[in-house]
Symmetry: D2
Subunit: 309 residues, 4 copies
């Protein structure tokens, strides 16, 4: 397939179903991917934070990516997270992604290391030069502990290094300052928000699409929200977003005395997918604390309230 | 005047004009306040971050507040920042604000200290009990280094401690989760965003108003944005926000080798007000580095581009 | 008295005893101060973090300081914290301290605001110029959220702005790089560590003294530690430090489900002082959560283990 | 060789020499390792932060580790960093290290992810269970953005999961509270400080050894410091530490307008090793900004001052 320029729409960061033994459950991943495509999503993003990429071995990452590419079969593009500490390691991940048939790559700034902004720019340029696929920058300070500077993003968009930005920074103000300048570029740069709770506002502001973790749980809702926004029906977009924001409370299902917010959210996405029959097993990767039965019941309650069960 | 419930609209955080000698320039503050009221703002917020409150002595704070109250003369409510480290000190500031005739108080969580969320809740309850004015919580983690927890805000809204929230956290997703619950309360709780770059999205999401530092520079723009949103004309609201986001680049006027982003922004607001004739002198309080001539020229350029000069 | 140059020895950051009603208990403060002086401390530091200065009104600060100055009666110097957000406000606090008879001032970098390093240097210079007392810089990033840059400290020491540094940054490596350069200065600059758990190492490295919060609980211990180090008996210094490090576990007395570490530590210092009969009431200032009975028993256990009860 | 229990002494985190083309320069690594062993170090730590491990591919890591193991030839133990985001990935790195013949493993807490303390403990237990080598915890909040909680370290030391701790947290106070409890354990737990500027104080406090990045530049200095401390000659230890703290200023060689502190420090260690003839090429891994000629001259100046050139 030719990669859309710019990429637009709902591109869920697909969770990676695991068996109870901790291996990638390819049958469940096929079923889930098929469900998402049928629901009308415009792409699949594999091996992002919601995909537990940081918990998967290279072999598991490859398996998950190949499975999604095979299932998508060219109907929607498959973006592959190539998450590793610095350039040379990311290029190894990118080589795997190319081999698996991904349509685009999504890379973060370096992490673990402390990196200067000049080095961050060089990092993306070397990745683009070393892997022949469209490259998205993944701005996720909660994970990498640096925010991509606006001027770096603009430079890398202008010179064609980046095909787009997945903005999970939560810094909507910074993005608002950046978007008008990005829209002025000739080459169809794609701005995707990863802030799944403020998609209506992001689309109003001119974002091209959204990468919502919660889209694993309610893909139809995000597709409706996107379509309403495209049609200029902002009241409908807002109502859908309000509904999805309420549904998002399932991420608080885990007992905070027993586990952190990240394990709670990832566990809840998987529990919700299992309760809806989209995957077989809700296990998350070690060493994450699993949701207990009471937490799963809270997830079920959220799904019932949202009309998903 | 009876205080609006909920408070709605554009409530600029008024800058505090200073003389070259560093004293409050009351004549300029009167002129600026009159200008803002004439432009159609719905309230004045004195002694916030844009008002350089952290740089003003108690005597200067009192002077500025009295001047604004006298100028407003009941036409719009005057909210007073009561910014100090912890409860007893805030109550001293609140007593000053009551004496000056403020219509409402705006207090942050404790700072300098490390404070538990139970203590933050107690802090606001003691302020409300100790000062007979409507109380707004000011959520500004960039200054106080804690984010107001959602459950605390909801508790304090439910029990009547708080009349509203000024949210300068930049965490739009968290606010989106909170707003539906706040709207369910019977008592007219007011949500004001301090994120001046995403006002269209915040109003779409249900915020009651905005406290824009940039409103000192272009009050008419924010009033237009607010009115467009109230009328449901989201395309117009977005266009106005885009224009204001571009204007916001004046905050980058200062040379980053010489000064920090905060001094640059406060200096630019004041330079822009002076260039428009709203105040006499653009001096900021010590020890802030002042804008140099080149920076002031950059501010002028932004105003010209925006059609304000 | 003529102020020691450099200031050396044990200078406890004196807690501020309060009555149950929340007022400064001057009788207890006299008793505690007398106890400390008798134990051999080399100065008193009033209105620091251990003194709950952020929780005290200006009037309460003045009362506490006057009481300590009167009790010291020139036997040891009294240093006064002048803790406020920025320069003009600190100068107001400094004027109070001068009036109360303090022998030196201790000021932090600006807080609440975001401040450039050039502004931090200017801040200290303006304080020194505006108040005719020796000035110590208080490096406490946990409270003010900036670390004093090494080059700024060195500049301000070299030009005579600062008489000394109270280093509560916990960054012993940075201090180790700074000390040889400070020792080269002709004017007797004083380096005091606020890291009460590593005093032996700090004195070995050349620090002049220590400002230990735990010195409110065991002043004799810190005096013995200091004297051992002065005598070059590092084995004895280390053994005393080990004992004091074990005693420090009283700061964990509070239940972390109910309160934060700061309230627990301040509450424990006061409970320990009360249990030893040094003050009448262990109340901490609002809105801090008080220690419950079980926590006070844990404090008592620590004192018994340390041979202090 | 049987692994020392506890491991004691100077264990430099060996830099990874690279060719100009970016490949591991095994000849230089052999020469450097031989130099360090001859200087009297007590172990080699490969693939730590100073070893640029985050910049090396898995293949490069394996090459570097095999080279060091072969050079050491059982004369000193070789510890291998197994640095990756979470458990399953670390176990893949551990399998490589076992294959290469490492004597012990050094692992951090999970990073990129947000991890609960219960999960951190489980992470180390799973690594220990999955790899049959002594395991050291590497506490490096600057890289992984969590501090290892004291109670977790104590639990993992008590149950035999951990053979030791490499503490690069810079939190000497926390370590001081922990060490007496660790010393009480029967099984010879090893505490190694990574804070190369305060080694005298750490050894005075009871640490077993040091992992100094600067040891790549002046191994003899750290061996002398360690031996002086073992002999109780604290004046000599302090003097040596002062000399090494002054030498450490070479890490500031890079122009801060052009590069960050991490690239400056790693570049300076390599430049200093090259200037001393220990390695052939001072190149650091991409995308780090290299030192320019002026910076290398500053490094040379530091070496001359320290008597190393």
């Amino acid at each position: 397939m030719s990669f859309p320029t710019p990429l637009r729409g709902v591109i869920p960061p697909v969770i990676t179903p695991l068996t109870a033994a901790g291996e990638v459950d390819t049958a469940s991943l096929r079923r889930l991917s098929e469900h998402l495509i049928t629901a009308g999503v415009h792409g699949l993003f594999l091996l992002g934070s919601s995909g537990e990429t940081a918990y998967l071995t290279d072999a598991q990452r490859l398996t998950a990516l190949e499975t999604a590419v095979d299932t998508a079969a060219g109907r929607v593009p498959v973006l592959a997270g190539v998450i590793d500490t610095t350039t040379a390691r990311v290029l190894d991940r990118a080589a795997d992604a190319v081999r698996a048939g991904a349509d685009a790559l999504v890379a973060t700034a370096p992490f673990y290391t402390r990196t200067h902004k000049v080095e961050i720019a060089d990092h993306f340029r070397r990745i683009r030069a070393g892997a022949d696929l469209p490259l998205f920058a993944y701005d996720i300070p909660a994970a990498v502990h640096t925010k991509l500077p606006r001027d770096i993003v603009l430079d890398l968009a202008s010179d064609g290094t980046l095909a787009g930005l997945k903005d999970s920074s939560g810094d909507e103000g910074s993005l608002r300052r950046l978007m008008p300048e990005l829209r002025r570029l000739p080459n169809g740069f794609s701005v995707l928000t990863g802030s799944e709770l403020t998609v209506d506002g992001a689309l109003l502001a001119g974002a091209d699409g959204v990468v919502p973790g919660l889209g694993n749980v309610d893909a139809h809702g995000y597709v409706r929200l996107y379509e309403a926004a495209r049609a200029g029906d902002w009241a409908a977009a807002r109502a859908e977003q309000d509904r999805l924001a309420a549904l998002f409370s399932l991420t608080d299902a885990g007992d905070p005395a027993l586990m952190g917010p990240s394990s709670s959210a990832l566990g809840a996405f998987k529990a919700a997918a299992q309760l809806q029959g989209l995957i077989d097993c809700a296990a998350t990767a070690a060493p994450q604390v699993p949701l207990d039965d009471a937490a799963v019941e809270r997830v079920r309650g959220c799904l019932v309230t949202a009309g998903l069960l």
